[in-house]
Point group: C2
Chain length 341, copies 2
């Protein structure tokens, strides 16, 4: 079997507890003993057993990442690798490991996360989404598990630490940009209504129209999956309208890609025939044809800040609730043009 703390203790002629304290670098152990013990550890090639340590100390130094759907699906959208990059950076800085939820349906994810936490596999979790009436979020709150959410919680916002953008303003600005270019028929292509990002952005869009005195049209509002296919579907539907929009606010770059695809198939040109403002400013926005004007929401930073907050919360359960708003900025490229009759 493996080298344990007892072997080290024997070799160094001290008690196991002393070795444990040397590992923790307790000030209650003399330098002399520490040297002796460390020497023994080196000689034996000792590595602490995290599992045993976790069991005794009731902490794992692991953070759980919870995706909105199966990683298998979510990871198709570059948003997720990018948040994870931010999470990874912060986790690494504080010596936390990362564990990913793997579940397919909502119920399965819920069970998985509950097991993760009740099974004490992780010290806390980061929700990479926020949806209306989320069973999981309620559970986490009720059981006082440390967690933070990326996005705006549906309920009890003031009781839940979260990191978000000002999606209302961001979408409003996006729509205003199009309005300033003279567009009057502007559609909104977003994700499922149960996600708060979608709701917030829709409201922002709506507010911009209202302020500009433009009508809000139900048939200009699309809700689809955050994937290319979603964008395609939405665009097809919009084009089937009697008076299709001349501009779009699209809530995600990958969706925007689908929009472009459909437009291309239909022989319509961007920005000549239709203008687009998208969200996320991932590499896709830069690369698409034409490059998309996109709202940069600083995804990396969302992940980074969320993780830092979570770790603080884990370290100190009384840490006050925080609400962190990451700034956004609209990056203008070549998918928007003046509206010409």
């Amino acid at each position: 079997m493996n080298v344990t703390i007892k072997d080290v203790a024997k070799r160094a002629n001290v008690a196991p507890s002393t070795v444990s304290r040397v590992i923790a670098d307790s000030p209650r152990i003399s330098e002399k003993t520490k040297r002796k013990v460390r020497q023994a550890m080196k000689e034996l090639g000792y590595h602490p057993n995290f599992i045993a340590r976790s069991l005794a100390s009731q902490a794992t130094q692991v953070i759980g990442i919870v995706m909105p759907s199966a990683a298998e699906q979510a990871l198709q959208n570059p948003f997720f690798p990018e948040v994870i990059r931010g999470i990874s950076k912060a986790a690494h800085e504080k010596k936390y490991a990362l564990q990913m939820s793997t579940g397919e349906k909502e119920e399965e994810i819920y069970e998985g996360v509950v097991d993760m936490l009740q099974g004490r596999r992780v010290d806390g979790v980061i929700l990479l989404y926020s949806r209306i009436n989320d069973k999981l979020m309620k559970y986490l709150q009720k059981n006082k598990f440390p967690f933070v959410v990326i996005g705006k919680p549906h309920q009890k916002e003031e009781q839940i630490t979260h990191v978000d953008n000002d999606n209302y303003r961001a979408a409003k600005e996006a729509a205003q940009h199009l309005i300033e270019l003279g567009h009057e028929r502007i559609a909104f292509v977003g994700g499922n209504k149960k996600y708060l990002v979608t709701v917030d952005r829709l409201h922002g869009y709506e507010a911009a129209l209202k302020e500009a005195g433009l009508p809000y049209r139900e048939d200009y509002i699309m809700h689809e999956e955050f994937l290319q296919e979603g964008g395609q579907e939405a665009m097809k539907e919009l084009l089937s309208l009697a008076d299709p929009p001349t501009a779009l606010v699209v809530a995600d770059d990958l969706m925007a890609l689908g929009v472009l695809k459909t437009l291309d198939e239909m022989g319509l040109r961007v920005p000549d025939d239709i203008s687009i403002v998208s969200f996320n400013n991932t590499l896709l926005a830069e690369m698409s044809r034409p490059p998309l004007t996109s709202v940069d929401i600083h995804i990396f930073q969302l992940g980074y800040e969320a993780t830092k907050s979570l770790i603080e919360k884990i370290a100190n359960p009384n840490e006050p609730v925080k609400r962190i708003i990451i700034p956004h900025r609209i990056v203008k490229r070549f998918s928007c043009d003046y509206y010409r009759k």
Copy 2:
């Protein structure tokens, strides 16, 4: 504190060991007792403590993912989310959780993985890369830890289970495609020479040239990072040559993107002035301007198969060594054209 196996035992009027056996669904427990125990578990809201279970059973049901560099960097390349998707699917099927290494420099990653394994945090690991003389791989082998590598091991290939493409042939075919189009000055843009993918692909490229009777030129061989910047660097250098190439084999889509960028800045056009065959066939290849002819290496499947093999190996330490070659296929788009003098 939490509900433990003892609480359940008390409630059901049985011994803790019986409860444990019910959890494991042991055939040695009568149906009647099982029902009684399950009832008690439900009533108390019992969740098994994974950590305690892991300690006792010496297994965690967690797989470690090892990236070549900091996740923070690696995840910029769509290759990684895509392998992870495959890994995630297989892991989920077999009820394994995933843990990611977070380390920056090579040495730090090494330490991290050693700790992961020695600390018994994971039952095995998947290396998402293969490099020459890899300290970590040697360590894993020496200590008989279950692991599989995605890529071709540098040494003792026949002793290490790995999942790879036939990179030699893939690159050869890529180059041949260009040769068939009449190109004679074909450059190779790959990653660092320490990675075996790079080496294999370079050899394939070389073989194609040789068979076609074309000269192999050192100054046409570029080794850069698997990022856009790498492609840019390479292309700049190639363009500074007295007789720059008319076609390129680029070992990665993201790099190819960098190549395109530089080409665009220099006012050169693809495929009119330069033809390109790239690798990975990620979304980027489809989206770039022009869309890239790219070798699809079925990244998802690499991850999926690797994970299945690893889990088999964990379940049965005597599982024979496997070598799985995932087929590739060249997807033709619009980055290649006939060579015109």
